[in-house]
């Protein structure tokens, strides 16, 4: 199986990373993390989340973080917003790349726990958001299915069920004339395996061959990088990850919820496998170590301790 020549990595550390940390992280450190990541040459950095400070107090300084960082050409700076108020707040910064996403959760139980809505209610709510996004001038070009491989509250999630949810979102998008170009499949609670990745990705590719598939993988049970490799072999060219392996969903129902796959480990996998990422791995390893200092504890990323093989090669070629 030929791997893709190049992939795009969406760096989520500043957003997904910060939302689970118990110790408060200063606004200055959050800004610094975004600026350090900007030097690594990511196509996208997710900067923060415009959610209610009542639910996620770690994100209460979202406006200040956005005001503070420095945009670099070539990188898109995005944020999360879950309702009209969040959209308005993000747009008001005047500094973010606004994205419209139609999103549902594949697990009924997790949907209710996480958003207090059933899947059906989420479809209705999502449809209501389409004119709001349009009114704000935001192009909605993505759909996303969370908990697409399994759920700690509900057990296995069948690939056929996920495909039906994708189909409903695609139909909704078509009815509203939305130019969807990306389908995200999120393994929110770390249930995926290389074989379930292949199965679901294959089914989505067969049915929507023109869509870019994005995988959002958590390393909850240690299979994150193996799953990413299985996806590379399927031709997937779009991945989410977080520097150092920051993050984890605070509402995902288990202690020690493991974060996203570590960006630097994904980059290492890609570069050693002949897949370009455009990311400067040496710089990124420095940022991963800095991220550990910022959150005040070890992060699970491996290459920041094991070392970039490129450096060893240069040393021994010299």
């Amino acid at each position: 199986m030929a791997l893709p020549r190049k992939i795009a990595i969406h760096e989520l550390g500043p957003r997904e990373g910060m939302q689970i940390e118990k110790n408060p992280v200063s606004t200055e450190d959050k800004i610094r993390l975004v600026d350090l990541l900007s030097e690594c040459n990511f196509p996208e950095i997710e900067v923060t989340s415009f959610v209610s400070p009542k639910w996620v107090p770690q994100m209460a300084d979202a406006e200040q973080v956005v005001a503070g960082f420095t945009r670099r050409p070539g990188t898109r700076y995005t944020a999360i917003y879950l309702n009209t108020q969040g959209i308005a707040r993000a747009l008001a910064t005047g500094k973010l790349d606004m994205e419209g996403v139609l999103s549902v959760t594949a697990s009924e139980a997790f949907s209710k726990k996480n958003t207090n809505r059933t899947i059906e209610e989420t479809f209705a709510e999502t449809e209501k958001r389409i004119p709001v996004l349009r009114e704000y001038g935001i192009t909605t070009d993505q759909i996303s299915v969370m908990a697409a491989f399994g759920c700690n509250y509900q057990g296995m999630v069948e690939a056929e069920h996920v495909v039906r949810l994708v189909a409903r979102l695609m139909e909704m998008a078509e009815q509203h004339g939305l130019p969807i170009s990306l389908i995200q499949l999120a393994d929110t609670m770390g249930w995926a395996t290389p074989s379930s990745i292949r199965r679901l990705v294959g089914m989505v590719q067969d049915r929507w061959p023109d869509q870019v598939i994005n995988l959002h993988l958590h390393d909850t049970r240690g299979l994150g990088i193996a799953n990413a490799y299985a996806a590379l072999e399927m031709g997937v060219t779009d991945f989410d990850s977080a520097v150092g392996g920051l993050g984890g969903c605070p509402y995902a129902g288990f202690k020690g919820a493991a974060g996203n796959i570590a960006t630097e480990d994904l980059v290492h996998l890609c570069h050693e496998s002949g897949v370009e990422t455009g990311v400067d791995l040496d710089r990124l390893l420095d940022v991963a170590r800095e991220a550990e200092a910022i959150v005040g504890h070890d992060l699970p990323g491996k290459v920041m301790r094991g070392g970039n093989l490129g450096a060893y090669r240069l040393q021994h070629a010299a």
Copy 2:
């Protein structure tokens, strides 16, 4: 690619795990770890290492550890010995399954650092050990190549070079009438990738189709489980691993040398992929948590925090 129906896992935690720990681990705790692992139904547990206490003080109590643990039917209990004295000590316990292994390191630089011998000197030394093993009544049926994918002291290791080393060991074994049945390829310093695993394993399988291939993988750069999966896809049925991800080679030339792949994460990968291991994962997760208590720090294994999916399934089926 069909995965194997069943694999054999060699649990190395008590040996490879203990040799790198900075804090002293009591003999009682070492014995307890072996006994706890015995309840998980491994085909093999590597109990300890008979090396000079001058070089590895953590292993000075090897005899006491062996005297203390309880053998369980169905598990082989092995140990490491690097010279005649070590063989004699291990044999004198009267309680171990003795194995003869012909071993070289693929990296000249690491060979000298680790054993103060060149590769050529190691071949000569290995050949001298054959009659010693025979004299002690030990069957030599394995060969092993360390640093078979790369080396922090030397850089890349070419697959062709490793195949030549395997061929020389196989010839030596044939000249001495040794019934080799297993070829171990060790990624001692975490240089392997899924593609380099496939390449080297494929070359060894093509040339020696009747040999069992064992992979000894370190998770130094986060690719250990992805590499294991690539090997499963090649039909490899024999793996080393360490509970919790204990271990790491103290002589491998970098700070924070990551240990072996975590046994419970490998077992999780296998069971979720339809590959039997015979190992009781729930019990093993308890042992992994106990191993953390014994060494007094977090271990990198993921499933012990993420949880066994089997338990979630039962819960939601109930």
